[in-house]
């Protein structure tokens, strides 16, 4: 009973905190607040895309945090950047100008996906933590990106989109493409939530029980890398990193079960992007930075939640049969 009460408390706490953040608009910037909703048509696609990316990122982020591969989103964004520059470089060698062709961007995504698959294949060794391999990928991809970027004049705006996002320029078509990829990913994660969870928590036991843990791990990492790379262009590397770390971190700190962990993470992941746009409009912040700032505010709120819950725990006797 204590567990259900604390879960309800957490959902209520973060919902109220979200309302409090929204209320800052009419309190401090009334004109901008009214203008924000009057110009909803301008913000509709970016906010919906942000909500979708935030929902998926906070869902995948739970696995990323629990599997201790927190920096994988940054590594994949650098791998995608390298893939984009490599495409332009090779095209340049053959005298082909790709200009604004989406081919280079798609190639970048493919390189990121291949990087994720290579990571799954080579992570078997137990002598070093996975983060060391992710760090190596990040450094290698970053270095190669800088080297190639120095040699070419095209494609830099694509890489800037990946690193910093292009969240205000989401078209209805791009939103539909995001939905077409994201909704199946969300369905896959709901249907196979136990498989993904258990192979991460105790792969040895699940192998003995007959599960093909390597194949399931590949599928999990494939969905992680697809979700990360598709979200990158909408929100950018750092905001995606924030969404994959902060909501799950807050959720897992005091979670009494996985359902609560996912529930709190998804609530936060869905609320942060639209609030990021909202604050960006109200206070003239850059959108990506605004989103990260909102994440930090929720992190600070979690400290308040901790002290309130800690007090409640002290006042509740633990009884065992």
């Amino acid at each position: 009973m204590f567990t259900k009460k604390t879960a309800r408390f957490r959902y209520t706490f973060y919902s109220l905190f979200t309302l409090a953040l929204i209320a800052m608009g009419p309190l401090f910037k009334r004109d901008s607040f009214e203008l924000f909703f009057q110009s909803w048509n301008l913000w509709r696609e970016p906010i919906l895309a942000g909500i979708l990316c935030g929902f998926l990122s906070s869902l995948l982020g739970v696995y990323i945090l629990l599997n201790r591969i927190v920096f994988i989103s940054l590594s994949l964004s650098q791998s995608a950047s390298f893939g984009i520059f490599l495409t332009y470089f090779v095209a340049g060698l053959f005298g082909v100008s790709l200009a604004d062709s989406p081919f280079a961007f798609v190639a970048g995504l493919v390189v990121a996906l291949l990087t994720a698959l290579l990571f799954v294949i080579f992570r078997k060794g137990k002598r070093l933590p996975d983060e060391s391999l992710i760090g190596f990928i990040y450094v290698a991809a970053s270095g190669l990106t800088i080297m190639l970027g120095d040699r070419i004049s095209e494609g830099h705006h694509y890489v800037d989109d990946l690193l910093f996002g292009n969240s205000v320029a989401v078209s209805p078509l791009e939103l539909k493409i995001l939905c077409a990829f994201f909704l199946p990913l969300i369905v896959i994660h709901f249907l196979y939530r136990r498989e993904f969870l258990f192979i991460s928590a105790d792969p040895e036991f699940m192998t003995i029980r007959g599960m093909k843990t390597k194949a399931w791990t590949l599928l999990l990492y494939f969905t992680l890398s697809l979700g990360i790379t598709l979200s990158l262009r909408t929100l950018g590397s750092l905001p995606i990193f924030a969404l994959m770390v902060v909501p799950p971190l807050i959720a897992l700190k005091r979670a009494h079960n996985m359902r609560e962990a996912f529930g709190v993470s998804l609530i936060l992941g869905t609320a942060i992007p639209p609030l990021g746009y909202y604050f960006s409009f109200l206070f003239n912040f850059p959108t990506g930075a605004s989103l990260i700032f909102i994440s930090l505010l929720y992190l600070l709120a979690s400290l308040l939640e901790r002290s309130v819950l800690g007090q409640a725990r002290q006042n509740t006797p633990r009884i065992r049969a």
């Binding site: 258990f198 029980r209 962990a261 049969a321």
Partner: protein, 245 residues
């Protein structure tokens, strides 16, 4: 009929051999004990039998469509995950759980029975990481058994278990053997306990490896050679007792 056949099986890791070739045909419903000094390769052998580790040489043949249950020496479940005791039970019953709902009547019944048998029914919604060592060990045994495997492989299952429950566990294992024809393969450091429960033995030692029926292996000179230390075997009140000299 043999549920497990070992043909010249050699276990070890990274080309380090921990045993001489092992040959054994274990009938269904019997109990195999694996004993030896620390670092002799007991856990390595058990993990090789489960398929987690590859054999260095030889063959392992399980009966067709065999279902294995496994209790590790140390908890392998990542404690970072906020998993409950109920989630642990779900691990073993994953194929039979409904895809859209969180539980089913069959699972609730099986879970209720095993948690009651392990005397941890009140811990169903508790986090595994918050349990005491003994409670966690009971939960791991429950997880290994809930789906009624045909073979239970256990690595020192009595670790952290209090004396009263250890006695009860042996009675539970006997009941499972009698009612479900369960085959047990277990590692235990308490020789005086395990030697009175098994029909088959594998002794892994620095000087020798023994493998076969318990009564054939239970010779002081053979065991002394395997353990690398002199010992004495005698019977007391119908119970086999071993003392190292």
């Amino acid at each position: 009929m043999a549920i497990l056949k070992l043909k010249n099986l050699v276990v070890g890791y990274e080309k380090t051999r921990l045993s001489t070739p092992l040959n054994l045909e274990l009938p269904a419903g019997d109990t195999l004990g694996i004993i030896g000094n620390n670092g002799s390769g007991k856990s390595t052998l058990l993990k090789t039998l489960t398929g987690i580790l590859p054999a260095l040489d030889g063959q392992i043949q399980w009966a067709q469509d065999i279902r294995l249950g496994y209790v590790p020496q140390e908890n392998q479940v990542d404690m970072l995950f906020p998993l409950t005791v109920s989630d642990l039970m779900r691990m073993d019953m994953l194929p039979s759980l409904p895809r859209l709902r969180s539980t089913s009547p069959a699972f609730r019944k099986a879970q209720s029975e095993i948690l009651e048998e392990m005397e941890i029914q009140y811990l169903e919604e508790n986090l595994v990481r918050d349990l005491s060592g003994g409670e966690r060990q009971r939960a791991l045994i429950g997880r290994a058994w809930i789906s009624r495997p045909q073979v239970l492989l256990m690595d020192e299952p009595f670790n952290s278990i209090d004396y009263r429950f250890r006695e009860k566990l042996w009675r539970i294992f006997s009941r499972w053997k009698n009612h479900h024809d369960l085959t047990l393969i277990m590692i235990d450091h308490d020789l005086n306990r395990i030697l009175n429960q098994v029909q088959w033995l594998i002794v892994l030692g620095p000087e020798a490896t023994l493998c076969g029926r318990r009564d054939e292996i239970l010779q002081p000179n053979l065991l002394s050679q395997a353990y690398g230390a002199p010992l004495h075997v005698h019977q007391e009140n119908g119970q086999i007792q071993i003392h190292f000299l």
